[in-house]
Amino acid sequence: MRHPKDISRRQFLTRAGGAAIAMPSLAAILAACTKPGSETPGGSGSALDNIPIATLDNPVTLPPTQDPIAADTPIESGPLVLYNWADYIYKKVVADFEDKFGVDVQITTFNNLEEGIQKVVNGQVTPDVFVPTPGYLRRLVAKDLLQPLQHDLIPNMSNVWPSYSNPGPYYDLGWNYSVPYTIYTWGVAYNRDRVPDDSAAQQGWEMLWNHDYAGEISLYDSYGDTIAITILRNGSLDVNTQDPQVIDAAKQAILQTINDNQARLTINGVYAKLPAGDYTVAEAWSGDIVGAQWYLPNGVGTDILGYWKPEDGKTMIGNDLLVVPTVSQNPRLAHEFINFMLDEKEGTENFTQWNGYQPPFTSIQPDTLVKDGIVPDTLTSAVVTEDMFKKDLTPYELPPEIDQLWLDAWTEIKAGA
């Protein structure tokens, strides 16, 4: 009779086997449990970690992380993945590109750039062409997420304002990584039936805080833009402020208009809702209000669309970029796409038929835009000229700690406290 306390041979083997399996895996787990960040730093080259933040006074050349693709790389068969803002490119232009090169284009969209950047950074989306703003360019390059452009494959760059290629924009001297997609200013779009032009010009940014328009006000659901214009409204000109008090004052002002005037945070309110009459005033990029003319309901003319922008020197101006990520599976095709969008005919068609955002082409003369009826004459203020870039305010990338202050303010706004 076996003593109950004796373990059977089977039990012993099972337990020993279990321990044998567990030991190495335990060791592996312990080995993997070194505190992250305690590994020796080395990374992909110290030059990348030290790229300074670019400003107009201190332009920056982004160092090439790798060689651009050879000019004779064969064109891949696609499909080309374009990661872009929602409603930001004319589908017919995309279809033309598809026909010309015999490939498919898949457009994935984001509703705000933060979300878009996050998805590219953690690999959720692996685009061939991406549309960020200059403020993210340094960090994307520093993390080796973008590949340098092969200039020989983008001859249409000559259609763009020369300052973008020689010497290049302040954030990317020598246009190593980016080409401009569109240019725009910040302002307030308003319904001219409800807000007379002179009243709009007199109120300026206050239109978005005017209780008469309660329930019909729209602000952008984007922390950088809305906080920046509120800083302007509060009287400061430092749209890249690092002063916590200025940020706090902006936060309070935004909360006030949300709570008292039921201001809504949207991303497409200007073109989707304002022409239809849902909104009376809206924070707007200039391209949004020009594009709104194609969203007007039947029977409503473009003369109800108005755009106010601050006087010279007090308005913000910026541009969007086309870049090619490192993970792109079709880099040659991506270059072709960028070249295609810089083509005079295609880029202008994108702008004049659907997008509303002006590309910085030399062939586009601001004075003829209104004369030819591309931009309604009530929206002359929405036209962007090259000299504006010298006079007006440019939003820059913020240092991480300051960025965190802005983000915290925005968190409070979104929490609806």
Binding site: V81, N111, G123, Q124, P127, P297
Partner: protein
């Protein structure tokens, strides 16, 4: 049934109505009809508006098939993105059903028969996964797939499938378990007394008895996966893993057109066809066993 009327209180008039124990339940009837109308009308209106010729989904202009076939870029027929989203939705739902229902059914059978602390823990965890708010599951899976499993399982269809299975596997467990509670082990034991092996007993005796519950879980898991939004959005990557629910959500937040109504109607009709087909198939297949599966879900 005759009305019991005492001599003092005739059951007539307003107060008499309330005294009559067998009165017609007018309030409840009105409430129910009101609820059903409130529940169904918005969906009907959304379906009708998908045939709106105009751009609005709230202001009717005229009848037209613009958003179904006519519009060259934005109609259901011509918009490849929406069609891809529908395909993705069905792909995920069918795969989820194929994986989750067998997993859940086996789990339920095992839990019901296996007594012991591990069994109770497993059961507890399964019930926990049923009641947890989906955002917790979605965000935690997202964090898992972007950190620990970063290069093992990329975000996208695979991740979405795993997320859906995780969320849906508790449905069949609950439904099958409820049915098992009323079946008991005697049928299998009788079968084994008559000479079958345990596997045969399960396959030939227990599973047929469970067929109503299994069908109910297939229907519920399918419908719930088609509709699922939080998990698939958290685990999506790029346009190929967009489902219709995500498209409806992003359209609803930006600029909705009746094309979305048309796509949603399409999904509605397809799901209805699938479920009706399943019910008919089941009825023909089972020849008369009661179809009480849906209410088994209630027996938690």
């Amino acid at each position: 049934m005759s009305v019991a009327v005492t001599p003092e209180t005739p059951a007539r008039g307003f107060r008499g109505y309330f005294r009559n124990p067998w009165r017609k339940p007018r309030f409840l009837q009105a409430t129910t009809i009101g609820y059903l109308l409130w529940s169904m009308l918005p969906v009907l209106i959304a379906v009708i508006f998908s045939f709106n010729e105009g751009r609005s989904r709230a202001a009717w202009q005229s009848f037209g098939l613009r958003w179904w076939t006519a519009d060259p870029t934005d109609s259901l027929l011509h918009d490849a993105e929406i069609r891809a989203a529908m395909v993705q939705t069905f792909r995920l739902s069918i795969l989820t059903v194929i994986i989750a229902v067998p997993l859940g059914t086996l789990f339920a059978i095992g839990i019901d028969r296996w007594h012991g602390r591990p069994a109770r823990t497993a059961n507890f965890t399964m019930l926990l996964s049923f009641v947890v708010p989906e955002i917790i599951l979605g965000v935690s899976l997202y964090i898992l797939f972007t950190s620990l499993f970063k290069n093992i399982i990329p975000l996208g269809t695979n991740a979405q499938l795993l997320g859906l299975v995780a969320y849906q596997v508790s449905y069949p467990v609950i439904i099958v378990r409820a049915r098992l509670l009323s079946i008991g082990p005697e049928y299998e034991e009788a079968a084994m007394d008559l000479g079958s092996t345990p596997n045969q007993a399960i396959r030939r005796v227990l599973l047929p008895l469970l067929t109503p519950a299994i069908f109910a879980s297939i229907a519920l898991v399918f419908a719930d996966s088609v509709d699922d939004f939080v998990t698939v959005q958290a685990l999506s990557a790029g346009s190929t893993s967009q489902t219709l629910a995500m498209k409806i959500y992003s359209a609803a937040r930006s600029s909705p057109t009746p094309e979305v109504n048309a796509a949603a109607t399409m999904m509605l009709v397809t799901t209805l066809l699938v479920i009706t087909g399943g019910v008919l198939f089941y009825k023909k297949f089972s020849k008369g066993q009661e179809l009480g599966g849906a209410t088994d879900f209630a027996q938690l």
